[in-house]
């Protein structure tokens, strides 16, 4: 099993969610984050002083998946989150050793 963690543009959430559910992925967890990267925010001007905005609002999506669907999940996220502009974000894949569904104690692929 793997954990796919994707940093995306906030307004892309619905598209990504639909792409994932159409693959049969039935769960995911989303958090609001601030991203620092190549994309720079507009400088904010306040009372005549200018401040660089370094951190931009992004969403982090975490999905635990079985290895067999990993590639299609990556592709689905990648396609649905793309606008082609700087700041589209990243996908990170990490190993996942164990998954448990709290309600039933089912484990691993049954828990996803």
């Amino acid at each position: 099993m793997r954990t796919v963690m994707a940093i995306i543009q906030p307004f892309k959430l619905e598209e990504v969610r639909e792409a994932l559910t159409s693959l049969g992925v039935e769960g995911m967890t989303v958090s609001e984050v601030k991203g620092y990267g190549r994309q720079k925010g507009q400088a904010e001007i306040y009372r005549g002083a200018e401040y660089e905005i370094n951190f931009l609002p992004k969403l982090k999506i975490e999905v635990a998946v079985n290895d067999d669907v990993l590639d299609s999940v990556i592709e689905a996220v990648s396609k649905s989150a793309k606008t082609g502009k700087i700041g589209d974000g990243k996908i990170f894949v990490q190993p996942l050793e164990k998954a448990i569904r709290i309600r039933t104690n089912e484990t691993d692929s049954e828990a996803l």
Binding site: I45, Y46, R47, A49, Y51
Partner: protein
């Protein structure tokens, strides 16, 4: 508040200082309560209180960062409470009684604890209790305005002590100078509702305070943008609405003078908001909420001394000018001089107050307030206005500086660095907003 003048004109009485001192002794013909005037003055009184709580409290707390919101709102609220008590105990007496030999400078202690202010005491056509409370709300808002320059870094205890002393040693005397029988009123300075007494005064104290206190940590590098301008917009709106009590209330009657004060107040506020918005649109590329509300307040400040003396077109000009001068004060001048006036109290109230005081001398219309201005050929009035400005600036600056230095050397003025970085809300008051 130009009721000295208005009352004199109407009923030929001596200045109100004398008037107030004697009104309980004999029932003069003129001293008859008018229920309409009383209704309006009670309304005006609560409006000016509303300007501070929640007006200034919100205007200021929306502009600070999330960690200092409650502390900032608390400053206005606590100031309102403490000043009320002090005004009742001694402030009113100092400002509005006859000081005898030192009457040019300050009143006496004849009315401490409101001694002699009874249920039937009149002040013109309204109960003296109402006049006293109306004046109390001015003694509340003036110190409350100053807090904006000290925000984000002053100790709460030092702030309360500073403003208590300031109200008694600076505000009460200057009020006496202009409205209580002191030397500026005698000199003919026009200040209908407090351009000098309230705005220049608080603006200068703010500037001195900001300089004595020093800049905030991170000033110039960290982004210190307002955390929630909706609060500030509510505050600015309530300031605007309440300002009718401030200006039209200063007629101390529900009459034509009050009506004109209301009209010109509305026009100047709107004009200044529009002119600030346009300048900001041009120079910053986008009109901001912070800009338009600052503009409206600038216009309200500038029309304050003028509100019983100018007509609609004068108000339009004063408003348009104030939007420009205060924009310059808050956005250009501050950065040039490098002091950290957190919420631009000097930029808006100081500069706006001076703009208004001078322009009152320019646009005054004899047919409206009894005194002609520069445009009607009375060159001298502008000079008298400047005399009032200069006297206020000098006295206020020196006295404020001394008070602050004494407190600074004894109990200290600023919170420590960790408290400042962690935020005043949790560190000083043990509370946070979610």
């Amino acid at each position: 508040m130009q009721h000295i003048k208005t009352i004199s004109k109407n009923i030929g009485l001596a200045p109100i200082a004398l008037f107030l001192a004697t009104d309980q002794c004999f029932a003069s013909e003129a001293a008859k309560l008018d229920s309409g005037d009383t209704a309006w003055m009670m309304t005006s009184t609560l409006l000016v209180l509303m300007m501070t709580i929640p007006g200034v409290a919100l205007f200021y707390s929306g502009m600070v960062r999330k960690k200092n919101v409650l502390a900032t709102a608390m400053q206005s609220f606590a100031v309102a409470c403490v000043m009320s008590v002090l005004w009742m105990i001694v402030g009113y007496s100092l400002a509005f009684t006859d000081g005898g030999a030192i009457n040019f400078f300050v009143g006496s202690l004849d009315k401490v604890f409101l001694h002699g202010v009874g249920v039937n005491s009149l002040s013109g056509t309204i109960p003296e209790t109402v006049f006293m409370t109306f004046q109390m709300t001015f003694a509340i808002i003036t110190p409350a305005l100053i807090t904006g320059a000290l925000a984000d870094r002053i100790k709460f205890s030092s702030l309360l002590l500073f403003l208590s002393l300031w109200m008694l040693l600076v505000y009460a005397p200057i009020t006496h100078w202009v409205w209580g029988g002191g030397f500026l009123g005698d000199a003919g300075v026009l200040d209908f509702a407090g351009g000098t007494v309230v705005h220049i005064n608080s603006g200068i104290a703010a500037l001195v305070g900001a300089m004595v206190l020093g800049r905030r940590h991170g000033y110039g590098s960290e982004n210190m943008a307002p955390h929630n301008l909706v609060l500030s917009l509510i505050g600015a709106s309530l300031l605007w609405v309440g300002w009718f009590g401030f200006n039209a209330g200063s007629a101390v009657a529900a009459n034509g003078s009050a009506g004109m004060a209301m009209a010109v107040t509305q026009i100047a506020a709107a004009a200044a908001a529009v002119s600030w918005m346009i300048i900001e649109w041009i120079f910053r590329g986008k009109p901001s909420v912070l800009g338009i509300i600052s503009g409206a307040v600038s216009g309200l400040v500038a029309i304050t001394p003028a509100s019983g003396f100018v007509g609609p077109s004068g108000a339009l000009m004063i408003g348009l000018s104030a939007g420009i001068t205060c924009y310059w004060g808050a956005v250009v001048l501050k950065h040039k001089l490098g002091y950290d006036d957190t919420l631009d109290v000097f930029g808006v109230h100081g500069i706006g107050g001076i703009t208004g005081a001078v322009l009152t001398g320019v646009f005054a219309v004899e047919a409206i307030g009894g005194t002609p201005g520069l445009l009607e050929g009375n060159v001298e009035q502008v000079l008298v206005q400047i005399e009032g400005i200069v006297a206020t600036i000098i006295y206020c600056a020196i006295a404020t500086f001394l008070i602050l230095k004494i407190i600074g050397c004894t109990m200290g003025l600023r919170v420590d660095k960790e408290t400042e970085i962690g935020g005043l809300d949790s560190n000083l008051h043990g509370e946070t907003i979610q």
